[in-house]
């Protein structure tokens, strides 16, 4: 919480604990930490629909259900899962939109 507040004022002053996905590796970021199934997959779907082909979305979740849900989303035609990792109790996914159809 405190980190979030500080980051509003001085983003550079906040030490982030070993990032799973580096900044610059993705085009958009979606933070769904604290939300339970099925919110992360629904918000990810919505965020992806606003991306152009070739762009990537970094999704951060704390919901273990998203391991299945987000992989399911990435298996849809026109999407791929570029990366997924676990850091502490957080799950990180990078999804890429391969075409807009």
């Amino acid at each position: 919480m405190l980190r979030k507040v500080i980051s509003l004022f001085r983003p550079s002053a906040v030490p982030t604990p070993k990032p799973a996905v580096r900044k610059g590796d993705f085009d958009r970021e979606l933070d769904t930490r604290g939300w339970n199934c099925p919110v992360p997959v629904l918000q990810a779907k919505k965020a992806l629909s606003n991306l152009d082909a070739g762009q990537t979305l970094h999704v951060i979740t704390t919901d273990p259900g998203s391991l299945v849900n987000l992989r399911g989303l990435a298996n849809q035609p026109g999407m791929t899962l570029v990366e997924s990792s676990e850091v502490g109790d957080e799950y990180h996914f990078v999804l890429k939109k391969t075409d807009t159809t």
């Binding site: 099925p38 990810a44 989303l73």
Partner: protein, 159 residues
């Protein structure tokens, strides 16, 4: 890969049972399914503009209650006036605390994901409900409207 289809029938109008149809419908839509939900009998309460859903401990031995009340609290006690309101507000608090979306939020996500919702005309007539009390995004129909869609759906469920 051709689009998969999901057909649901929602028959229950309580706060707890509002979740399964809306969670399944919205998730399936996100995963590329074409979804239609048919709301009949008490399920129509889920389509009201003004959602006022409640959960009742009465006649529900499977419902976990605080302080192990589900173990020792007399069944008749769950019929005390105000119990329903109390259990409803407790459940709403829990939903919020655990980061579970509200029914309203899930319904909005379903609408956004173009989940088709059909309200049962017969139920509306039977209970003298007013069609203007329901959200505008629904269509009214009957059993045959459901079968038009469900006949070739990949998954059909009654909830």
């Amino acid at each position: 890969m051709s689009e998969k289809k999901l057909a649901l029938i929602a028959t229950k109008g309580t706060l707890d049972w509002a979740y399964p149809p809306f969670i399944l419908a919205s998730t399936a839509a996100a995963l590329g399914y074409n979804v239609t939900v048919f709301f009949t009998f008490y399920g129509l309460q889920l389509l009201r503009k003004d959602l006022n859903l409640k959960v009742s401990p009465l006649g529900n031995p499977g419902m976990p209650m605080p302080m192990g009340m589900d173990k020792w609290f007399p069944v008749l006690g769950t019929a005390i006036p105000g119990m329903e309101t109390m259990m409803t507000s407790m459940m709403k608090q829990k939903i919020k605390k655990k980061g579970v979306a509200t029914v309203q939020e899930l319904r909005d996500l379903c609408i956004e994901a173009e989940v088709k919702m059909i309200g049962c005309q017969m139920t509306i007539d039977l209970f003298d409900m007013k069609s203007e009390d329901f959200i505008d995004e629904i269509e009214l129909g009957g059993a045959s409207t459901f079968f038009e869609f469900a006949g070739d759906a990949d998954v059909q469920l009654l909830i």
